[in-house]
C-alpha cells in the first residue's frame, strides 16, 4: 500500500512553523503597540501620570527622557511614530505575498535602528533610562529577528 508509507507533504512543517512565527510577531507587535500607545497618551497629556521606576532630578527618569529634545522628531512625538510603526507592521501580517513580508521586515528594521539610536541617547546623552522606551526597543529587536526569519523562510503559499 503506497498510501500507508506516503510522507507528509513537504510544505506542512513549514506552514506550521510560519504560523507560529506569525503568532509570535503578532504577540510582540501588540505588546509594543500597547507600550507606544501608553507613551503617546502620556506625551500628549503632560506626562502627569507616567509610571516609572527610576528617579532623576526629583522627577521620574521616564519624564526626563520624554521631555528631552530626543522625544520628538521634527515636532512629532517619537512615541506616536512608534505607534504608527507597530500599526503598519501589524497591517502587513494578514497578507501572504513577499512584498508584505518585506515591508514588515523593513518597518521592524527602521524601528529597531531608531530605537537603538534613542537607547544610545538615553544612556550616554540624557543619562536617564525610560523603561517604556527600553521595552519598545526590545520589542523592535525581537520583531526585526522574527520578521527577518519570516521573510527568508517564506514558501510559495505560507502565511
Amino acid at each position: 500500500m503506497t498510501t500507508a508509507t506516503r510522507p507528509a507533504p513537504a510544505s506542512s512543517p513549514g506552514r506550521t512553523g510560519a504560523s507560529a512565527l506569525t503568532i509570535a510577531i503578532l504577540v510582540v507587535a501588540l505588546i509594543g503597540l500597547a507600550d507606544a500607545a501608553y507613551l503617546t497618551y502620556e506625551h500628549y497629556n503632560g506626562l502627569s501620570g507616567l509610571l516609572c521606576l527610576g528617579g532623576h532630578h526629583g522627577h521620574s527618569s521616564c519624564t526626563t527622557v520624554q521631555s528631552s529634545t530626543y522625544s520628538k522628531l521634527d515636532g512629532v512625538s517619537v512615541a506616536l511614530l512608534g505607534l504608527i510603526g507597530y500599526v503598519a507592521l501589524l497591517a502587513t501580517l494578514p497578507f501572504r505575498g513577499d512584498l508584505f513580508k518585506a515591508a514588515g521586515f523593513g518597518i521592524a528594521l527602521i524601528g529597531f535602528g531608531f530605537s537603538a539610536y534613542l537607547t544610545y541617547r538615553e544612556v550616554f546623552t540624557i543619562k536617564a533610562i525610560c523603561e517604556w522606551c527600553v521595552g519598545s526597543a526590545i520589542c523592535m529587536t525581537l520583531l526585526v529577528i522574527l520578521t527577518g526569519i519570516r521573510f527568508l523562510r517564506a514558501g510559495p503559499a505560507t502565511p
Partner: protein, 268 residues
C-alpha cells in the same frame, strides 16, 4: 521493469521537480535581492531620522528662531503676558492673596513642558490676570548642573534676573523656554543669552548688559538655591502655593491646571 507509461510518468515527475527546484531557487534569489533593497532603504530612513533628531529641527547657527517662527513666538509671549504686572521675578498683582513659588531651571525640559504645555499658561491667563494669584520664580539648578558647571547656570539665571530689573523677567524666561535646546549641549553662552535679550523689544539692551555684572543678581540666584535646598526642593519644576490658609506643594511632575487649582483652593 517499468512499463513505458510508468517511465513517462517518472520522467514527467522529474521534470516537474526540476522546474519546482529552479522556481524555488529563483524565488530565493529574488527574496534575497528584496531583502538587500529593504535593508538599504531602512538604513537610509534611519540615517535621515537621526540627522533630523540630532539637528533638533531648528534653524539658525545658535539654534534660535528667526523670521516667521520668531515673530509667532514673540506674539504668543506678548499675548500671554501683556497687561500683567511684573516686578522682578514676580508675575501678577503683588497684593494677590495667593502666591505660587516656582522653583525652576531655564535649561530644564520638564520646566519647559510645564511652562508651555502644562497648567502654567492657563494659570496666567485666568488666575494671575484676574489678580487672584501671583507667581514668584526662584532658581534651582537641576538639568543644567547635570551636564555643566554651576557657572553656566548662574550665567543664564542672572541674564533672566537682569531682564527682571526692567520688569521683563517672564518675557525672557518664556523666550528661553520656547527656544530651549538639548541640555547636554553647550548652547547656553553669552551670544545665546544676548540674542534672547534682543528678542524683547521693550528691553533696554545697554542697561541689561550693564546689569549682568550686578553682583546682587548672582547673590539672588545663590540665595534662591540655598532657600530651595532648605525646604527640601529636589527637582524642577517644584511649585508651592501659599495663601491665607497656609502652604500647599503641587504634587504632579508636570502640573496641570487642575493640579494648580486644587492647590490654590486649599490655601485660599
Amino acid at each position: 521493469m517499468a512499463s513505458r507509461k510508468e517511465q513517462k510518468e517518472q520522467a514527467r515527475q522529474r521534470r516537474m521537480a526540476e522546474e519546482q527546484a529552479l522556481a524555488e531557487k529563483v524565488r530565493r534569489q529574488r527574496r534575497l535581492q528584496m531583502m538587500v533593497g529593504v535593508v538599504v532603504a531602512a538604513v537610509a530612513v534611519i540615517a535621515v531620522a537621526i540627522a533630523v533628531s540630532t539637528s533638533g529641527g531648528s534653524g539658525g547657527g545658535n539654534g534660535l528662531q528667526h523670521g516667521k517662527a520668531l515673530n509667532q513666538t514673540e506674539q504668543q509671549v506678548s499675548s500671554l503676558l501683556s497687561g500683567i504686572q511684573q516686578s522682578g521675578t514676580t508675575l501678577g498683582n503683588p497684593k494677590a492673596p495667593v502666591t505660587i513659588t516656582y522653583y525652576g531651571d531655564l535649561e530644564c525640559p520638564v520646566c519647559r513642558d510645564f511652562t508651555l504645555q502644562g497648567g502654567f499658561p492657563q494659570l496666567v491667563s485666568n488666575d494671575v490676570r484676574q489678580g487672584k494669584v501671583k507667581v514668584v520664580y526662584r532658581s534651582f539648578c537641576t538639568a543644567t548642573c547635570n551636564s555643566h558647571p554651576s557657572s553656566v547656570f548662574n550665567q543664564q539665571q542672572v541674564a533672566a534676573y537682569a531682564a527682571g530689573l526692567q520688569n521683563l523677567f517672564w518675557n525672557y524666561a518664556e523666550l528661553f523656554y520656547r527656544q530651549q535646546q538639548d541640555e547636554t549641549t553647550d548652547y547656553v553662552n553669552s551670544a545665546f543669552l544676548n540674542a534672547l535679550a534682543e528678542q524683547i523689544p521693550a528691553l533696554d539692551l545697554k542697561k541689561w548688559q550693564t546689569d549682568l555684572k550686578d553682583p546682587s543678581l548672582l547673590a539672588q540666584v545663590q540665595s534662591d538655591e540655598q532657600q530651595a535646598s532648605s525646604i527640601g526642593v529636589s527637582g524642577t519644576p517644584t511649585l508651592v502655593a501659599k495663601g491665607p490658609k497656609g502652604e500647599q506643594p503641587v504634587g504632579a511632575t508636570v502640573p496641570t491646571y487642575s493640579d494648580l487649582e486644587a492647590a490654590i483652593k486649599q490655601v485660599s
